[in-house]
């Protein structure tokens, strides 16, 4: 089934709660890449990220009745993904930043440029892995996903000043790690 680009998530959520699995399938198609991408950047391993994304998308369906619509579906999914990533990490599975994005290729780019870009992405992934989870989360959500401070605060059940505080510390740490890599 092709995703329906013409209807908003709120409509699809309502229909999914009525039992229309089609509607939820469109939501999954729209948001599965985001769920996987965020999980990958938080935990650093492809297989863990795939598991987290899958579990999060199923958990979102199972809990649709608890989704009150105050936030967007994507914000709610961000919350579920980050919580599940934290659970996986705290269960003792430490990130393995070794070539986590090897299977992500960009066929348009020249191989040499692609290799350079892979190094840059790997450097960021390794630097991210050194951050405490709360700092890593705000960096991923704000600087990599493009969420505003207010949206990050909503996802992390925090406040805008707390988000900015985490970001200030995280940027300095990341900057030093990336300076070593240069």
């Amino acid at each position: 089934m092709q995703p329906g680009p013409e209807v908003g998530d709120a409509y699809l959520v309502t229909r999914a709660r009525d039992g229309y699995l089609d509607a939820y399938e469109i939501l999954v198609q729209r948001h599965s890449a985001m769920a996987y991408r965020v999980a990958l950047r938080l935990c650093g391993r492809h297989h863990d990220a795939q598991d987290i994304a899958q579990e999060a998308l199923i958990a979102a369906w199972e809990n649709l009745a608890r989704f009150n619509g105050d936030s967007s579906f994507s914000t709610w999914l961000y919350q579920i993904v980050t919580r599940r990533a934290l659970n996986k990490i705290t269960r003792g599975q430490t990130p393995d930043p070794t070539n986590p994005l090897d299977d992500v290729t960009d066929p348009v780019t020249e191989p040499a440029v692609q290799a350079e870009r892979n190094l840059a992405v790997d450097a960021v992934t390794q630097a991210l892995a050194t951050l405490p989870f709360p700092q890593r989360t705000v960096v991923v959500l704000h600087h990599l996903e493009g969420l505003s401070y207010a949206e990050v605060a909503e996802v992390t059940h925090s406040s805008v000043p707390a988000v900015r505080s985490h970001l200030f510390r995280a940027r300095r740490t990341l900057g030093k790690k990336l300076a070593e890599w240069r």
Binding site: V7, Y11, G19, L21, Y24, V28, L57, D103, V104, L178
Partner: protein
């Protein structure tokens, strides 16, 4: 500023800069780094336009932050099969055990009600004015599982009910603003009945069309 940065190797200069609270001009380091990291390096204020320390720091941070910007811009597609795996697991939770049943000399043909729902939905989507059509294929006891997950009460016109070569199809449809709704609904019924008759062999088909949204513009 703990020490001058100009005489240091680039990586050391960057680290010293990141250890400092302020630049020699008095500007704070954190807001400068935030400015660069948020993609506003070119938005210099009046002081920054005149200050070599700020301009040097912004240039340094821009180079330092480039891999992060590159990572952010890099597409990361979902692994193939992720959507299918998710929906497969959900369908296990809401397994549809209802089938059409057609007997023939060569044996019995069973077609799951969800297939009927899928074809009905796809047929409805070909009707002009239809922006989205959703088919529901839960029924009876099976629907109770979905209801338990979603805390929804059983819809009075629930589902695709199939019995032998008879089917009742329930479709939720959103149409474009300005379309004659009743004509679109009639068109959907004719289209779905013809499709299920020709492609699945169902003889008696009732199509309940629920127009539950009218959409304006590109997105809602």
């Amino acid at each position: 500023m703990t020490r001058p940065v100009n005489d240091s190797p680039p990586e050391e200069a960057a680290v010293h800069l990141l250890d400092a609270v302020t630049l020699p001009c008095g500007a704070e380091v954190d807001p400068l780094l935030e400015q660069v990291a948020d993609g506003r390096a070119a938005d210099l204020d009046a002081h920054q336009r005149e200050c070599v320390h700020c301009q040097a720091a912004i240039a340094e941070f821009t180079a330092l932050w480039a891999p992060v910007a590159e990572t952010a811009a890099r597409p990361v597609p979902a692994p193939p099969g992720l959507t299918a795996a998710v929906m497969s697991q959900i369908r296990v939770l809401v397994r549809d055990v209802w089938y059409t049943l057609q007997t023939a000399n060569l044996g019995v043909i069973r077609i799951a009600a969800r297939i009927v729902a899928t074809r009905a939905r796809d047929a409805a989507r070909t009707v002009p004015g239809v922006r989205v059509a959703l088919g529901r294929s839960t029924h009876g006891k099976v629907a109770a599982l979905a209801e338990r997950a979603t805390f929804q009460h059983h819809h009075p016109h629930a589902a695709v009910g199939v019995l032998g070569r008879t089917a009742v199809v329930d479709l939720a449809v959103a149409v474009s603003y300005g379309e004659p709704v009743h004509e679109v609904a009639r068109h959907i019924q004719r289209q779905v009945i013809a499709t299920l008759r020709d492609e699945i062999g169902l003889q008696t088909v009732a199509v309940n069309v629920i127009i539950d949204d009218v959409l304006i513009g590109e997105d809602q």
